[in-house]
Amino acid sequence: MRKLGRWWLFALGLLTVAPLGAEEFNAQRARFNYQMSCQGCHAPDGVGASTVPRMKDFVGTFLRSRAGREFLVRVPGAATSALGDAELAEVLNWILLDFGGDSVKSDFRRYTGTEVGALRKSPLFEVDRYRVQLLAEIASNTMENQSHD
């Protein structure tokens, strides 16, 4: 169906979306790609379900450390997804903007296709414990920073 659907679009000359440029951001496309590659497990609003971690109002926490920033690309759902590097970067940025809430600082540095392409070459082998460890590190760093303040 999908395949035939494509022929249909060809026939009508409807192939309208140009290839994705390096730093483009198209929220509609990002949402669509999120839906197609992520939403099944992470739920429409990023709240997750049972064993699937919550991103809603939380995902930005990972940006507070370099390893955390890399983590968001290296988790299997991202790294091994069928999305191209630029598309994946766009989806990650969209997730942070749309679901991140207060966990994301307004001036966060957006992912680029190049960065994502490099990071996803080494997907994680172990996720759950690493995630806990990362969050613990981030928490202690944050507390440290706060105590310095």
Binding site: K3, L4, F10, L15, R29, C38, A49, S50
Partner: protein, 177 residues
């Protein structure tokens, strides 16, 4: 028991038919290339009745029919036949929050929609309207695109009852997955 017989014969017949349908269509010189992707029955049925064209969203066809447009990538029992509907669960079951996603083309408006195939869980196989279309289905290692897995995950019970097909978005026009 006839129903099983029928269902399974139907299943292999469907495969045969789909193949030969495609085969025949090809010989029509591409005339129907687009339409071939469209469930035939509902279309034919819809055309039979003259239509006023209200400017409201529209679907066509019988949601308890395996050929219904939303079911392009489904594999399981149609909840529409089990006391539920195309997008709701039968009484006393629980809809799985974890699922897989496909796109299907609505013949009424020509748009591709993002369809979430949420399973209803907690009672045993509904056993009615077994429908296997598998278009775009991938093996279980591509879990975001597989219908061979029991998607009763994150529900109180892991027991599969039937499958829904819920419109969760409009697909981007890039012939995308």
């Amino acid at each position: 028991m006839n129903f099983l017989d029928d269902l399974f014969e139907r299943r292999s017949r469907q495969l045969a038919q789909r193949s030969s349908r495609r085969g025949v269509l090809k010989q029509l010189g591409g005339l129907l290339v687009g339409a071939a992707a469209v469930p035939l029955l509902p279309v034919a049925r819809a055309v039979a009745a003259p239509q006023a064209a209200p400017k409201a969203p529209k679907e066509m066809g019988d949601e308890s029919d395996c050929d219904y447009w939303r079911y392009c990538a489904i594999d399981g029992f149609l909840c529409s036949c089990c006391g539920g509907t195309k997008n709701s669960c039968p009484p006393g079951t629980e809809m799985s929050p974890i699922t897989w996603i496909g796109t299907c083309r609505n013949p009424a408006d020509g748009r591709n929609y993002v369809i979430s195939y949420n399973d209803c869980c907690g009672k045993s196989s509904c056993g009615i309207c077994l429908c296997q279309r598998d278009e775009g289905d991938r093996p279980p290692y591509r879990s975001d695109k597989t219908n061979d897995i029991n998607w009763c995950l994150g529900t109180a019970s892991a027991v599969y009852h039937c499958s829904t097909a819920i419109v969760v978005g409009v697909a981007l026009d890039k012939g995308a997955k």
